[in-house]
Symmetry: D2
Subunit: 236 residues, 4 copies
């Protein structure tokens, strides 16, 4: 059983009627409902929980952390962001969603600003599979069609991804590296761009399939801190 923790800042859904209409129980609960099956179990935490619900103990009991945030990135305490970073270093998997590109832990793990260009026009998006044999793309056809998404565009200020599994194109011509894999020490990281709060992206079956695949891919085979030991000679 893979233990997933979903962090959602859970602000838009309480403040914006349009968002509330789509995700009445919050994005985290829509994702939980989509992801849970006989191999994945999900806990949810939100910004208003003490320490964002992301205590050392919570992270120690998380195989893969999923992160959705947008308007309140700076409300996540630095110590929580650093704790998430360190848990990834030790092996915890992490899946950052949509505007989570600007979350503190993602920026700490990338070492870059993760800036991008954007526009909110309700463009349709085609999320193309570039690596059909990648574990995260299994079961997806040539592309995922999303009726409406926030438009994200290049340059996306990330390090060159180890693998680019999806590239999105938008109705008015932008492109964006929509699904990117990274490793940081013992942990695996997947960034997935779709998921603007004003559109029902997380009810799309292909999106959910992709996220389930990502959970399996990021699930650690090994978890320990890489330390900085003084060592003796190897042959003694």
């Amino acid at each position: 059983m893979i233990r997933v923790t979903i962090f959602n800042e859970f602000k838009h859904e309480k403040e914006d009627e349009r968002v509330k209409a789509i995700y009445p129980d919050g994005i985290h609960n829509a994702l939980k409902k989509g992801l849970e099956d006989e191999e994945i179990t999900v806990k949810t935490v939100t910004l208003d929980d003490e320490e964002c619900g992301l205590t050392k103990e919570a992270l120690d009991n998380t195989d893969v952390l999923m992160w959705w945030g947008h308007m309140a990135h700076d409300k996540v305490p630095d110590e929580v962001a650093l704790r998430v970073r360190d848990a990834v270093h030790e092996g915890m998997g992490a899946v950052f969603l949509h505007s989570g590109h600007h979350s503190k832990p993602f920026k700490l793990l990338m070492g870059t600003s993760c800036n991008l260009t954007w526009r909110e026009d309700g463009d349709y998006e085609l999320v193309w599979v570039t690596k059909p044999s990648h574990p995260i793309a299994q079961g997806i056809g040539r592309f995922i069609k999303l009726e409406h998404e926030e438009t994200y565009g290049e340059p996306f200020a990330i390090p060159e991804p180890e693998e680019t599994v999806f590239i999105g194109s938008f109705e008015n011509g932008e492109v964006f590296r929509a699904g990117c894999c990274f490793k940081r020490e013992n942990g695996r990281i997947f960034y997935f761009q779709p998921g603007h709060e004003t559109f029902p992206t997380y009810y799309n079956e292909d999106v959910i399939k992709t996220l389930k695949n990502a959970v399996h891919w990021a699930n650690p085979v090994y978890r320990t801190k890489i330390d900085c030991p003084h060592v003796g000679k190897p042959l003694e």
Copy 2:
């Protein structure tokens, strides 16, 4: 002075009136005219030349080889293709254009089929810069606009590029990794997708600027064969 050799199969321009109208002297001569300046000198060779004009001596005197081919890839003798591959291994730069993705030397250097999906509808293309600080993107804005191009789509069966400098989007929604960097032994390779024979792509100023940049980037700093020597102990 960087010595560029342009190989063009030079078939379409003689057989198809539409192509002849755009490139009356052949794609190679349009490129030569665009590329030559105080730092770049160009020789051109074609499929009908003896050994495609790509003798050992010709390659030894080439800093960067540029390749355009489409309908007659199989007419390039295997020994010429292998000679080009070996010259790249030794350090010669190589720029493969458009349908050159299926040329023998490119496939030999990639180790893959380099297949892709395609459609010929005259879609417009936006060629987006993903790495604005890359030497090959200098002087280009956010994207290059091409009124009409052949549509290429993913998956593009290449190894994960070392750097993806451009991603193209097409009028009907396809995306394609349009500008990709690779190294093979001592040689640098750039693949650039624009350049269908029925459109005047090689008269576009941004395309020419990109290709000039690519020539500078691929120009070798070092050229020698990596051999397989029996060696003595390093400290004797």
Copy 3:
């Protein structure tokens, strides 16, 4: 059950008494004995088999191909080498051992000469783990100690590996990228340097553990040919 096929050229073991003493039934049978368990089943083929035992049908029924060759690389017919390459493109995993760096299929897949420097002094080797969380390194300590190995040295003329999991150091100071991961289209490739025919490397428990891990890692999740289709507009 993962279906492994081991190709061994099986020449040294018949011609050289020292090798015969170590591998009386051939390297392939020593490997088969080491690898087979409740999850892995092994077939063996050799150079003297018709078509090297690597018919289209044999490859279609192989999940992961393991390759040992040294003195007779050029006796493998080109059509067999190309068939292996194409099977990897479709998704078959491949593990190339030791002097298999110069085998035809490995060179075809890399797109380089795969040259290296070498010396046969019976140096000890320490094979260091650089990525402790990589699936192929599971169960291995900080390094594998081999009493004697053929010395391989840099430069190793391969493309930059997607992941370098092991780096070996030798008694007299050489280093070598000993365990390297690549992907080519849908197939995964692992190169592992230890395994000279005059030393009992393939009886080492850590080496066998590494190769079992590599078999699991290279086992395809997806297998199909990436073709070059003419496609319609995505939104029609």
Copy 4:
């Protein structure tokens, strides 16, 4: 003229007689003397300078920053470390030396702990060239021989380098990725392991040649902040 700024914490040289004997004017001045030529000009700053000498203005006037630190990493103010990180994002080159792997800016740029194993035995080191055509390896033979160095060993907790140009082996068998290239947004980063304060490494001609090459390689072609703009439709 490339404008290099060398930051040295300049502590060991004042506190430890052995170090003072080797670098009486500090490591920074030894490096300055080695690096300056008709193409490179050097300024030096130290930890005791106000803001470490790394004001916004100083960084704006630096093409490539070189960093040596060891015992006082935590004395560098966070705001200075972040300022250095941001300057690299904008395009400033950076060369981190030896124990600079644990400096605040390097860790911020990598997104990892940059831990490693270590031992101080005065082992000799051979620093092997793995990519002879890389600009940073020009003029270096097969390896650089250092009589004595601090021993660094794997695992080195960095992201997979974009290029590994040097791998070091030590007298007692350790290996270490000694010369690694990274890009972060518009800036290029080179890490180079040799340079322990108790050995005269920075008087070695090959080391100086490597560092000069690194300065040229990291010198930016382009410098600007990648921002996060709201953009209009590309075709309007």
